[in-house]
């Protein structure tokens, strides 16, 4: 396979392939963080996660049209506003959903699965009715398109770098919220012992709602960022849901660090195998390995140590 190539060419290809793996890693982290918060900290299986992401993508779409029509001068930076707005809108919907639906189902975790799945179908049809069944094209500012030539041979996609930076920022933000803020302390307390947490005066209801909202908001930001690399349509959220759950479950549901470690290992494995094998085969092998490891270690890579 490599016989005909010179060393610099091979080096360039491998460097770019390394970046491809890192980009995939960032994409996985962005997808999974929102779900990891909700699933890991609250035990709610949110099947509508993909639809919250797409809500963020649609917000970006609307805003790109708005800026193109009314304030073209600021078009080059609209994306940042769109991501912020996506966080607000998806988060707000998350709060509403928690209040209207999820909070009634905390004692029946399997029912949340059904209920959120139903919610995902409803949201898909709402998008279809509002935005049409066809995918919409989101215009991206020029500076975010194209690639950055590092050397003559190595070219790095700019949107990939953008996704990587965003993944780092959001991970840091969540780390701060989780481990340095009052809210994070409360979430972790509730996670360890809900009754006791309530007894010492933590407003568990409000904390739950906020957690769900933040998880959904992060999903919205991810969806907004993915308009650069993927499609925006009513059912596009479904494209992400399997990978997302895979990453979260493999990482160990309750651990954010585990989510990141699992995103890293799955993305690297997949990207390397995709390069040497065919795409479908890479996917099959990745799934097999993950299933195999989960059979030996059902709690995932990183499990929180709890006294049961």
């Amino acid at each position: 396979m490599f016989a005909d190539y010179s060393w610099p060419e091979l080096g360039a290809i491998f460097a770019m392939q390394g970046f491809a793996g890192l980009i995939l890693f960032s994409v996985f982290v962005l997808m999974a963080l929102g779900l990891a918060i909700i699933f890991g900290q609250m035990g709610v299986i949110n099947m509508a996660h993909g639809e919250f992401m797409i809500l963020g993508a649609y917000v970006t779409y609307l805003l790109s049209n708005f800026f193109a029509d009314y304030v073209p001068a600021l078009f080059s930076i609209y994306f940042f506003i769109a991501m912020f707005l996506a966080f607000i809108v998806s988060g707000a919907l998350g709060l509403l959903v928690e209040w209207a639906m999820i909070r009634h189902l905390y004692k029946r975790p399997l029912d949340t699965l059904l209920a959120t799945w139903g919610l995902s179908l409803i949201l898909q049809q709402v998008y279809r009715s509002v935005f049409g069944a066809r995918e919409v094209g989101v215009s991206i500012p020029d500076w975010m398109m194209g690639s950055l030539p590092l050397t003559d041979l190595v070219e790095i996609p700019i949107n990939g770098i953008f996704v990587m930076v965003l993944a780092v920022c959001i991970s840091l933000g969540i780390y701060y919220l989780m481990f340095r803020s009052n809210w994070g302390k409360q979430v972790r307390a509730i996670n360890q012992n809900r009754v006791m947490a309530g007894a010492v005066g933590i407003n568990t209801e409000w904390t739950d709602r906020l957690t769900f909202g933040i998880g959904c908001g992060v999903a919205g930001v991810a969806g907004s960022a993915f308009t650069m690399i993927g499609s925006t349509g009513p059912t596009a959220g479904q494209l992400y849901i399997v990978d997302t759950f895979l990453v979260v479950v493999f990482g160990g549901a309750a651990s954010l660090l585990g989510t990141i470690a699992s995103a890293f290992s799955i993305s690297q494995a997949q990207s390397i195998m995709e390069f040497f094998l065919s795409g479908s085969m890479a996917k099959v092998l990745t799934l097999l390995v993950v299933v195999g490891i989960l059979m030996i270690r059902p709690q995932g890579l990183f499990a929180m140590k709890l006294r049961k």
């Binding site: 996609p157 990939g160 065919s278 795409g279």
Partner: protein
Amino acid sequence: MSDETPKKRSTGLSRREVLAGGTALSAALFLPKNLKAADFPTAEINTTGLAVTDDTVTIGILHSVTGTMAISETGSVQAEKLAIDQINAQGGILGRKIEYIQEDGASDWPTFAEKARKLLVNDKVASVMGCWTSASRKAVLPVFEQHNGFLYYPTFYEGLEESPNVIYTGQEATQQIIAGLDWVNQTKGAKSFYLLGSDYIWPRTSNKIARKHIENFMEGCKVVGEEYYPLGHTQFNSVINKIRLRKPDVIYAIVVGGSNVAFYKQLIAAGIDPAAEKPIVLTISVTEDEIRGIGGENIEGAYACMKYFQSLENENNLKFVEEFKKMWGDDIVIGDVTQAAYLGPWLWKAAVEKAGSFDVDKVREASPGIEMTTAPEGYVKVHENHHLWSKTRVGRAQADGQYEVVFETAELVEPDPFPEGYQ
């Protein structure tokens, strides 16, 4: 572009087909334009209990308007309704207005089969315009054959099928692939090809035909890679690196659905600009419909091989596009399959009038040789194998989301659903 004279039409046909076509043509000529229902007593033109009354005939429309496939199938539904409206405005079929019952296949293949059964058994529809994916067609096929229904199927597909109960108004694979490959080889001097596709029957069969053609029929040409990704795959950076490594002259892409958007966006982000034609991007899976999702600026310069582009400049098409927009709004785009779906009701009308009956057996018998001179794509004719003779065209994607037609075959291309030497 559309300088089709009747003389030109018959070239490329075998003698038998010329004769068959001739009789069809003369039959069509002698039929009066406005047929009166009273001249065709219902009892005589409908001996099998179809939903035909003295002034109406009911047909079915069976597409997904919900679920994943709604993206693609919406255009077909719109085209079929437009054709039905136009036929009704002209006085209907055998003096009867067409009414339709629309069912939703919901992107779910068993649902398609169930709805097909409902349309045929409960509603007794005289024909059905429907299905989009091969999977949905395969699901309804036994139902149509069991209950002797008649289906007009609009999508370009992989071939390897010829049902007495289906008329295929889209291209089978060889019609879409071979002329395009020859074109890119002859005009662009392309020698090496990287085949890429979503992982299911249509891209795999199509790439198989493409590979056979490249290796066996195109001198000095070779396939340097062939690869499939699961449906819905959204990360193409690895394969793009692989493409760089192999340096093909042509990326032959049959990626579908949401993956399409991801693929072209990532291609351009990785510095492979289709407009630079290094390598050339040639696809058979991106119509004007898909470009809306991809964004014209992301695919500008890529070539697509189809039989119809919205930008075709002939009178039929100008009129068709105008009326389509009048009915469905100015911002709509019309892709290859949408046009093929539009042909369905018209071809059925012609077959019914030629047969002088709505009976499925008679319509089937009348179908081969039916021709349509008012087709937006120009001129089509039903082959004995129930597929259409049609031209193959290559278009170059523009930033505005339309294609500029850069090539079309001089003759109609014969449909060949079971191509020898390509299996």
